[in-house]
């Protein structure tokens, strides 16, 4: 049985996000692409059982996440071989990250506990709802919310993003300082 056009389309559509998720988790592009390939192969092995209404993207993320976790356990004691393929990416303009340096952001993300990082990446970057992320991570919705919250707080601390609860952002500060001069 060949792949249904919709299934194939859904798989192709999910690949860029899957790669981004895998790279963020593993910190290594080659390993991430191998993870994505393994994910797709496993999904294809069960292609006939996919229901048209099912969330293909979420299923692929679940497979990838489980693959990574089993691989992560094996590689735990290995030396981190994080590559820097995207570290000096010319595609990423400074204004995209505001005042955050890409390398700094990447390093800070890597410092987060594994569970928090994956929760933040699923909800904050991959566009999954808390419920979907909880299903992918096989945990309670409250657990995901808590992990995302802790990840955000930790990342904010690491990047010194927080200007305080009532702090003004950069444009607001510029306006305020301009008004002082007048």
């Amino acid at each position: 049985m060949t792949l249904a056009p919709t299934t194939k389309e859904a798989m192709l559509g999910a690949i860029p996000g899957l790669r981004a998720f895998a790279i963020s988790l593993s910190g290594n592009v080659e390993r991430a692409d191998d993870l994505v390939q393994e994910t797709l192969m496993r999904a294809l092995a069960h292609a006939d059982s996919f229901e048209p209404d099912s969330n293909m993207t979420a299923q692929l993320f679940t497979i990838l996440r489980n693959l990574y976790r089993s691989e992560y356990r094996k590689r735990r004691r290995e030396v981190d071989d994080t590559d820097n393929r995207y570290a000096n990416s010319p595609q990423l303009q400074p204004e995209q990250l505001g005042r955050i340096d890409f390398g700094e952001f990447r390093a800070s993300l890597a410092k987060l506990p594994h569970d928090q990082r994956e929760a933040l990446l699923l909800v904050g970057a991959s566009g999954f709802s808390y419920e979907e992320a909880a299903a992918i991570c096989e945990c309670a919705v409250g657990t995901i919310k808590s992990r995302v919250n802790r990840a955000r707080t930790r990342l904010t601390d690491l990047l010194s993003l927080d200007d305080g609860d009532f702090g003004a952002d950069q444009p607001a500060q510029a306006v305020l300082s301009a008004s002082h001069h007048h």
Binding site: L12, I15, A20, I23, L44, L92, D163, D165
Partner: protein
Amino acid sequence: MEGHVFPRHATGSQMKANKQIDPAAAGSEQGDKREPEEATAREVRQPAIGGGPRKARGRLNRTTLSRLGKALDAYFEVVRKEGVPERFKRLLDGYDMQQALPVQRNGGATDKGHSL
């Protein structure tokens, strides 16, 4: 019934006496018996749970959350922009071809023998 011996329970006054001993045992006596490492670990753990100059959790303002969201988007966007690498397109096309071949060999009569 004279020969029957009931289990001895502590009387009210005995229980009170025991109670008076307990706090001491839980406090200084037991404290003295603790390993120094254990005491230190508890002291170290304590500020993380309660007091100490710890920042309140879940107090990120909208600006900070927005910055964080944009940063995450931008971080992922670099990879997303690359689209689908050829190796994955080939993988999916290859699957279709692999699935189609046995059907052609058998003249499309049966799907038996398909392997993934």
